[in-house]
């Protein structure tokens, strides 16, 4: 079939229009689009927008800083707590210290609770993100041992909680 005949045939085919989509489908498409997340801004070269990159760094740093602060508080309270030898000694007890109720409650809770964190494994890996390309991740496997002791009843509750922490690391590509 030569080209002019092909063109004529194409023209005739184009006169047929695809069957219209039902209003139900149109509505579904519009509703689906409204529920879709807003596309993240990207530059023409496909890399993330600088403002977005800083947001992501902050998103990672904020919980990391909070975790560090909490760890510092716990370590500090652990250092100030009397040792077991001191607690079980038969030496005369120091005079009772009168503290405010919340402070007393906090100290009592800290005395009853012991948390130990063991780093079981740590490794780095690279994951492929469909939007951003390769993403470098540091994976830390922790085992938290939480011991709660009730001084009144002598009951001790111990739990071992495995935890995985995944932190994206800036990926340098060349």
């Amino acid at each position: 079939m030569n080209d002019p005949e092909l063109n004529v045939f194409e023209t005739e085919l184009k006169k047929l229009r695809p069957a219209k989509a039902s209003e139900e489908l149109i509505t579904r498409l519009m509703e689906g689009r409204q529920h879709a997340p807003v596309p993240t801004p990207t530059r023409k070269d496909g890399r993330a927008h600088p403002g977005l990159l800083w947001k992501r760094i902050l998103w990672v740093l904020a919980p990391a800083c909070a975790a560090l602060v909490l760890l510092g508080v716990l370590l500090n309270s652990d250092r100030n707590r009397p040792t077991r030898a001191e607690r079980t000694s038969t030496a005369p007890e120091p005079p009772v210290r009168i503290t405010s109720a919340p402070e007393a409650a906090r100290e009592e809770a800290e005395d009853a609770l012991e948390i130990d964190r063991y780093l079981v494994a740590s490794f780095e890996t690279v994951a492929e993100s469909p939007e951003r390309g390769p993403v470098r991740l540091r994976v830390d496997q922790w085992l938290d041992t939480v011991v709660f002791k009730d001084a009144d009843t002598g009951i001790a509750i111990e739990r071992h909680i495995p935890r995985v922490q995944v932190v994206p690391v800036r990926f340098e590509s060349y």
Binding site: E5, F9, L13, L16, P18, A19, G32, P39
Partner: protein
């Protein structure tokens, strides 16, 4: 005002292109419900993947329909409550007047006879209004292959219709 114009732009885009997407999806899916789901999911995914805030490129939507249809065909056939509850709508591929109905049935029948690799290229070129480069991107084939398949497909269609159209 800007939000309204964006919404109006979206609605216009959906109404303009939904029929083309549905035509392509109907050729890939086993039933009407699957075809509509393919279109909905593809539009949503293409919107999410698109770097623009407006409607996604049509070639991206077609490519997503193509890929999702392959995934769907591999999965177990699952009948949904919607498909059981509502009667299957007539799956006519083309809009036609009374006079065109016979022609529409002829072309639709011919399209179903030619191999799928030709049918999808013909659909994307004639009714999807894509270029051969875009068709190649959509189907994952070289541009020249897309052009060859299109020529073979249209030639076969003309043979089947036996010169009724032209």
């Amino acid at each position: 005002m800007e939000v309204e114009s964006t919404e109006a732009k979206w609605q216009k885009w959906v109404r303009e292109h939904a029929a083309k997407f549905l035509l392509f999806a109907r050729q890939k899916a086993r039933c009407e419900a699957d075809a509509q789901d393919l279109v909905q999911e593809a539009v949503l995914e293409a919107t999410q993947r698109s770097s623009t805030s407006g409607p996604p490129p049509t070639a991206l939507v077609f490519a997503t329909i193509h890929r999702r249809a392959i995934d769907l065909a591999r999965r177990e056939d699952r009948r949904t409550g919607r498909e059981r509850a509502t009667p299957q709508a007539a799956e006519t591929w083309f809009d036609s007047t009374v006079e065109q109905r016979e022609l529409e049935q002829l072309i639709e029948g011919a399209m179903k006879q030619i191999p799928e690799i030709y049918r999808e290229v013909v659909t994307l070129k004639i009714w999807g209004e894509l270029t051969f480069a875009e068709i190649g991107e959509t189907l994952g084939i070289p541009q020249n292959t897309a052009a060859s398949r299109y020529r073979y497909g249209v030639t076969e269609l003309r043979k089947i219709t036996k010169g009724v159209l032209a």
